[in-house]
Symmetry: C2
Subunit: 361 residues, 2 copies
């Protein structure tokens, strides 16, 4: 739950106003880069983490541990660090070095915990832009993300079109639907039901059981039915019982849940989860058409047929809305038994799409 | 959580051995009937409750409250009580009058609570058959059920073909897949995570928060994405907050969750949930083909395209397996924004299928 040892931090020493109210007196941003900082500017690619990710998208000499997008970034990779300066910053409100509930408050010196303000996708994007300002990057080649990263890359392209030439948004959405909000609500409730949550003012790891369950609920939606039915035994693997493991899919879920404890702070989980539910790129505008008018960014919108969390129909709709407004957009529908999480694993079709889009930018 | 005042009870005063071990010294079965008991025998239809249902499938003079299948049963209804004696019994292991965790133990006089044995779909069906024996019904016209009721009606038709001429199984499965077991695991974990669960040895309502969450998780799968996106507001209905209601889909889920408390006992929830996960009509057989050989029952297998819990592909597969084995089976694919729960609400296509099947039996 700490920043990678490879992460640099920058402190933006002025107040940061949050969209839903509240302010942070200063902002700390933890980020990593690959490639040569001198090739910045128009060649820079901002890789934006999804919900459970962080700045460590790829290994480096400072941290040889595998990054969460190890296969996507590097010399010769789809996001080629010989051609681009690649930047990735941990998320505002998260727990990996950028300001969040575990950060110390300036006034008390103690962690914010449950008093950290609510954040929005818009806030997260403004935080990324402050980092770009610090790095002297006026305009990116591309902002790239999957899932919650795609919500941010879309937000960046639509609300700050002067800051990037391209946007890649895989398995994201422009506006969270009630069917998706229902799912995330379950995870938050699992955490807040846990008596160790203590209204967010817990010490240490806090609501372990709740966080585990939240992650298990998430996992069912992050992956596909097809994968589970192919991968796991259909018969009991042990004497049936209520407390123990009867089916091996339960072992898998428990493993995923336990991994979340120690890598995810519950207060961060809650804030980033609600930020996704509140996501609506068109908020405060008369219409999405108004927001899109004259938007010069090139978009690559992709989705996965087996996605149970953000159905590919939503991504297709984004693309169609962009095209109808005269924007430049390409759409790719992928198929993968992995489902929503497909962008995180090696998928040649997704890699080729990203490689080709960046080459043509 | 009590039996309907219209329910009659029969006590089968001999030991009942459970498939997974353990025995009940006697069995109490709570049931209701509609139509004339004298028209029993070949005209009787057994309506089998799903997970959260019970014997009160339809109102009567003894209990004018709406039944869970009010529109399906009655004079002139698809299951016509002028033509059939209609019987419905609460489930073994449940909490509506038939023996279950809240029933008193013969040895101590106190409730079984967490010591009630595990049950299987096979046990539930044998319990229904004991009721039929008591009523002097050797052979039904039809056994009808949706979801968990369909698992039981299939089990009855395949393992006890001498006891029924027809089986109607809507939105059920012959064998629970890992993808479905993963979902039910989440609900059980929500209950067992609750400190008020006390290993099942709670007093009173027990793990309220856990039971609520379990039911909320279930609700997301019982209904469809399409319904949620059509029915609920896409924008926040209140100032965003973590503890409160931000979206109206959250109010709906909370309402469903709270309804479960007071109508569902947590120990019953756990046992019936695991019974569904363990369901496999072919268990202990060399092959399903062996089980099907010469099976003379007529089957109506149906499913709903929008079902997120038991996809229609599973029901189609049951039908195809029956046909391949030379059995008589019809298949209907329904479409409904309600999803898995469609059989519980008024759906003319489902009603017509059941009416026509019974008329042709």
């Amino acid at each position: 739950m700490q920043a990678s040892p490879a992460a640099k931090t920058v402190v933006i020493d002025r107040p940061f106003e949050l969209e839903l109210g509240g302010r942070l007196p200063a902002l700390t941003i933890a980020y990593e880069t690959w490639g040569d900082l001198r090739c910045g500017g128009d060649d820079a690619v901002l890789v934006i983490p999804a919900f459970s990710a962080h700045s460590h998208a790829r290994s480096s000499t400072g941290d040889p541990g595998q990054g969460w997008w190890e296969h996507m970034i590097g010399p010769g990779a789809p996001i080629d660090s010989r051609r681009h300066l690649v930047i990735c910053a941990s998320l505002l409100g998260g727990c990996h070095g950028t300001s969040g509930p575990r950060s110390p408050r300036a006034d008390t010196g103690r962690s914010w915990t449950g008093d950290f303000p609510l954040v929005t996708i818009g806030d997260l994007v403004r935080c990324h832009l402050l980092l770009l300002d610090h790095l002297g990057i006026d305009r990116l080649a591309c902002a790239v993300g999957g899932s919650m990263g795609a919500m941010q890359s879309l937000e960046l392209g639509l609300h700050h079109p002067e800051r990037t030439r391209g946007v890649i948004a895989i398995s994201g959405t422009d506006r969270t639907r009630p069917a998706t909000a229902a799912i995330r609500h379950l995870g938050r409730k699992a955490i807040m039901n846990d008596p160790d949550f203590r209204h967010g003012r817990y010490e240490g790891s806090g609501p372990r059981a709740g966080l585990e369950l939240a992650r298990e609920i998430g996992t069912v939606f992050y992956r596909s039915k097809e994968e589970f039915n192919h991968r796991f035994d259909w018969s009991p693997v042990a004497e049936p019982s209520l407390g123990g493991i009867t089916f091996d899919v339960q072992s898998y879920l428990r493993h995923q849940g336990r991994k979340a404890v120690g890598t995810f702070d519950a207060n961060s989980y809650l804030r980033l989860s609600l930020a996704m539910d509140l996501h609506d790129v068109g908020r405060g505008r008369a219409s999405l058409a108004e927001l899109l008018a004259g938007n010069p960014v090139h978009y690559l919108i992709g989705g996965v047929r087996e996605d149970r969390l953000l159905p590919v129909a939503e991504q297709r709709e984004i693309h169609e809305t962009l095209i109808a407004a005269g924007c430049r957009s390409s759409f790719r529908e992928f198929t993968s038994p992995v489902g929503h999480d497909a962008f995180l694993v090696e998928q040649p079709a997704i890699e080729a799409s990203i490689r080709d889009f960046l080459a043509a930018l």
